[in-house]
Subunit: 261 residues, 2 copies
């Protein structure tokens, strides 16, 4: 399971304030907390609340300096991605995102950088309302991405988990699309933003954990989530133990010992 | 989702002691707590720790007197079932269990009583190690049960969720068997004992909740569990909201309001 920490995102009020104030201490604490909790990558998104390019450059610099893992460059702007991707050196990088109708012009720069990419299986018509529709879009997207030289192993397909509060069927569509998209190619990985699923609901972490457990059982291979939340981390490790992706449940058992210690 | 409360089982130390001491107060409190928490049925099992027939008669009497819901008669003994099933009158009853090689002689008494039955999809050879094997056994069992006059609507098939600690593949086999067994007939319901899945592991409720969320997403239609556990109840309601089995998430939202109130 590839874990992507979600906290360095200016759509989170506290992070936005810390970025606006260039509060290094607060952000370094977040970066270290995410890495210690097990984040393989740190998502960096500065699209809200100020000069995105400057914010992204500054945040990415902090991640490179104060963590050892990978970085996910998360931006709606091709200019921002094209600038920052040249500055991240040898670190593992994932660009989030391209769609069938947006930001495909980034593919050559992603290929050049040896980076990975998240593809959203949607086109100008929006998000398909069936798992089969998402799978078909994912196939078209994988074709376009591999045609740019990027191998399947560097492709993440987002299963587009929306809020359960918006439409009852939202999450079963996303969950059902996981095995369909995994079946496209053994190299590609399914991914999604777990916290989206509870937008607008009370006790959000409960919904996040229930979805995560179902998604892990459906075969989700990576997730953008709040790994610093003890509830989320425990749900993740429990789910991996349940589905046999934790040999002899050893990671889960070690985690529980740590929680008590 | 049909909820079966698991607490009236003498394999739980406290329950065994309360049954041995004929501690009415303690057991009435358990019965009421399960019903208030949302149990549709109360599982009654007195197989451990004393005279099973007398224990079962006494426990079943308390359930009939102090709750309004159904009763699950859970015993390895055909004699005990045959005795108690005649005494439960008009209440909804589920007999737990028959297998392809055990207790099939109960079917006429179950039919006579208008009761439902849990079938374990196993034969003398034990528990199949594949979902497909469990489905095939379930089909054979459904044939035998319906041949005795019991309609599919009164058949529960247990998907045989064993402990994650015993073999890494145990729970993916059980989870994968849920949609296969649901597909046998629209009337039959899948069921399992949720607490089994964490036997031998620390922090058992975490594993129980992760499995429950995955099982609800896979289509599980009823469960024997500790509905008096706030964590389990929250995971159940969260899971039903995630998979769209809670219109507009209204039950989940009401539950969260109650937790705060």
């Amino acid at each position: 399971m590839i874990i992507i920490g979600e906290k360095l995102n200016t759509s989170i009020q506290k992070t936005m304030e810390a970025v606006q104030n260039r509060d290094e201490e607060a952000l370094i604490a977040l970066i270290r907390a995410q890495e210690e909790a097990g984040a393989d990558y740190q998502d960096v998104n500065a699209a809200v609340g100020g000069d995105e390019l400057a914010g992204m450059q500054w945040l990415a610099g902090l991640v490179l300096k104060h963590s050892h893992g990978g970085i996910m460059l998360d931006s709606p702007s091709t200019e921002v991605i094209e600038d920052v991707i040249k500055k991240v050196g040898e670190r593992p990088v994932i660009v989030n995102s391209v769609t069938l109708s947006e930001r495909l012009s980034l593919l050559p720069a992603i290929f050049e950088a040896g980076a990975a990419v998240v593809g959203l299986p949607m086109d100008g018509g929006g998000i398909p309302r069936t798992a089969e529709g998402r799978k078909k879009n994912a196939e078209r997207l994988v074709d376009k991405i591999t045609a740019a030289g990027i191998p399947p192993e560097k492709i993440f397909i987002d299963v587009l988990a929306e809020s359960a509060a918006v439409a009852d069927e939202n999450l079963m569509i996303a969950l059902s699309s996981i095995p369909l998209i995994n079946a496209i190619d053994p190299g590609i990985k399914t991914v999604c933003g777990v916290s989206n699923v509870s937008f607008g609901l009370p006790g959000r972490v409960n919904i996040n954990c229930a979805f995560l457990s179902a998604a892990v059982a459906a075969g989700l291979q990576s997730a953008i989530l709040d790994i610093t939340s003890p509830a989320v981390k425990t749900a993740l490790l429990s789910s991996l133990a349940v589905v046999g992706r934790d040999e002899y449940c050893l990671n889960y058992i070690a985690h529980m010992r740590g929680m008590k210690g």
